[in-house]
Amino acid sequence: PVVVFMKGSPAQPLCGFSNAVVQILRLHGVEDYRAHDVLQDPDLRQGIKNYSNWPTIPQVYLNGEFVGGCDILLQMHQNGDLVEELKKLGIRSALLDAEKDQEKK
């Protein structure tokens, strides 16, 4: 359901923008996703830009639908939309549990 085209890997991102995507997903408890390193494959690097008609990497896809790059993911994270989109995929954001813990205190 969550697929990311990035530079480097989630364990070792090689670009600040790609790293931002990895970190945001991690905040929501999303660690189990397909990540494709475009630096390993120039055809993939250009191909994915043609496919989405989007000029830059990273690219985030939710259930096969292109969502945007790092800037959009960051704004979705900040305004709560990411939690909602993950919920639609059946993924419960870790941030919801974090909030619940806070309410208990």
Binding site: L14, A20, V67, C70, L74, Q78
Partner: protein, 135 residues
């Protein structure tokens, strides 16, 4: 080289002053092109164009990595993806050429008025330059 400007907005700083964002006009040729195209396409009420190339290992004035903040009524009612596509469309030729990376922040005039702040870009982690060194 350029004087530090003591301005409250987090998007401003020596790079922006050098790019002439506040003064509207200076900056390298690509910065001017970006500014002109975004102005023509989106009629922004507020526009900031920032050359981030030095943050990504380029020399000053490399003009490869940019950040833009566009405040425009054209964005009203549009989801984020469509807003960003409008910006990309205006800069299609540049993105096919020298413009390697583009941070994009879009706001409607109402959004900007209620919250005139934007997050700074993430730090560079080396990109393909680093990948080559590992091999």
């Amino acid at each position: 080289k350029s004087p530090l400007s003591c301005s409250p907005s987090p998007m401003r700083g020596p790079l922006l002053a050098a790019a002439g964002g506040a003064m509207g006009g200076a900056g390298g040729p690509l910065a001017r092109t970006i500014r002109a195209k975004l102005t023509a396409a989106l009629e922004p009420t507020h526009l900031e164009v920032r050359d981030d190339s030095p943050r990504h290992g380029g020399p000053p004035g490399a003009e490869t990595h940019f950040g833009v903040l566009v405040v425009s009524g054209h964005f009203a009612g549009l989801p984020l993806l469509q807003r960003h596509r409008l910006v990309h469309e205006a800069l299609r030729a540049e993105l096919a050429g020298p413009l390697h990376a583009l941070q994009v922040i879009t706001r409607t005039p109402e959004q900007w008025q209620s919250d005139p702040h934007a997050s700074p870009p993430p730090p560079c982690l080396g990109g393909s330059k680093r990948e080559q060194r590992h091999r």
